[in-house]
């Protein structure tokens, strides 16, 4: 098992990364968001971080992968990311998060960052969520203490290893790479 930092890319960051790779392969320049998303992806090449995507992002990539001309680009992304799968208690935690005002989709991403694993089930949760969603980041920061108390209360009632989960840090891609380098 690896103790590397683990980061979940929300749907938009995953899309920005893929679009950034497509623009690079087309010989074009990137938007700032695409640039920092690709930069985060490149951190995996240097072995500084493990990146995860939500199941729905993988579905789109599978469709693109079937178009032969994009295989190299999509493979470059898939080689550097893993799919995060919801674990037991994911649904319960997602429901709790919605009570703090998160949209259903945001709540699922945040819940997956605590109650998410890889295909082998040998990890539990992420250190980071990468997002460009400013309202999501603001609400997460604003409600942080209350969310932590709620998670602690839930963890007191569930078995090991689920009782060991924590809250991820939520940030833009460009602010995740520096810490992962330390």
């Amino acid at each position: 098992m690896s103790a590397l930092m683990r980061c979940l890319l929300d749907k938009v960051v995953a899309r920005r990364t893929v679009e950034g790779l497509l623009r690079l392969a087309e010989g074009n320049s990137l938007s700032e968001q695409e640039l920092f998303a690709v930069d985060l992806l490149y951190a995996t090449v240097e072995g500084r971080i493990r990146l995860f995507i939500v199941p729905s992002s993988k579905s789109v990539l599978d469709l693109l992968y079937r178009l032969p001309r994009y295989t190299v680009v999509i493979q470059a992304f898939l080689d550097r990311t893993e799919v995060a799968f919801p674990t037991r208690y994911f649904t319960r935690w997602s429901r709790r998060l919605r009570e703090f005002g998160f949209t259903p989709e945001d709540a699922r991403v945040l819940a997956l960052a605590s109650f998410g694993s890889n295909q082998d089930g040998n990890i539990l949760g992420m250190h980071w969520v990468a997002t460009y969603d400013q309202p999501l980041m603001s609400l997460w920061t604003l409600k942080q203490a209350a969310i932590a108390r709620r998670l602690k209360a839930m963890c007191d009632q569930i078995p090991h290893p689920y009782s060991q989960v924590g809250l991820p840090k939520v940030s833009k891609p460009g602010f995740i790479v520096p810490e992962a380098r330390i």
Binding site: R6, A25, S59, V72, V83, D120, N122, P178
Partner: protein, 123 residues
């Protein structure tokens, strides 16, 4: 009473000189010993554009090598009866909508799985 002032046995510049020469593992160990440093580091600015551009350039080289030295054409057929150029020229909201539509028939579900009892927590 005011705070007790403890004199530093060495100058901060000397400590910095030592830190510049220690390895990755030792830096991690240092953060374990002085966790307050993590908080300070969080306030640091993120990656610079030039750092990110270096990464992007390396990725571009990797992709172009994989593509046999040829760039993708903007006329290349893409999903949704669009060309690559047409897709990338769409407004962000339109691309987001398409991405959602393409993900609708996801083969991967959000069903919960069990992890191993020795699963490594992030916390």
């Amino acid at each position: 009473m005011g705070n007790t002032i403890v004199s530093m046995p060495v100058a901060i510049e000397q400590i910095a000189a030592v830190l510049r020469n220690i390895g990755h593992e030792e830096r991690r160990r240092l953060l374990d010993l002085v966790p307050e440093l993590r908080e300070e580091l969080r306030e640091l600015p993120g990656r610079t554009v030039s750092q990110a551009q270096e990464s992007a350039e390396a990725m571009r080289q990797m992709l172009i090598t994989g593509l046999g030295g040829e760039f993708l054409s903007s006329e290349e057929p893409f999903l949704g009866n669009l060309t690559l150029g047409e897709y990338l020229a769409l407004p962000d909201e339109a691309r987001a909508l398409l991405w959602d539509q393409w993900a609708e028939n996801s083969a991967l579900s959000w069903n919960e799985i069990d992890v191993r009892t020795d699963a490594l927590p992030a916390g």
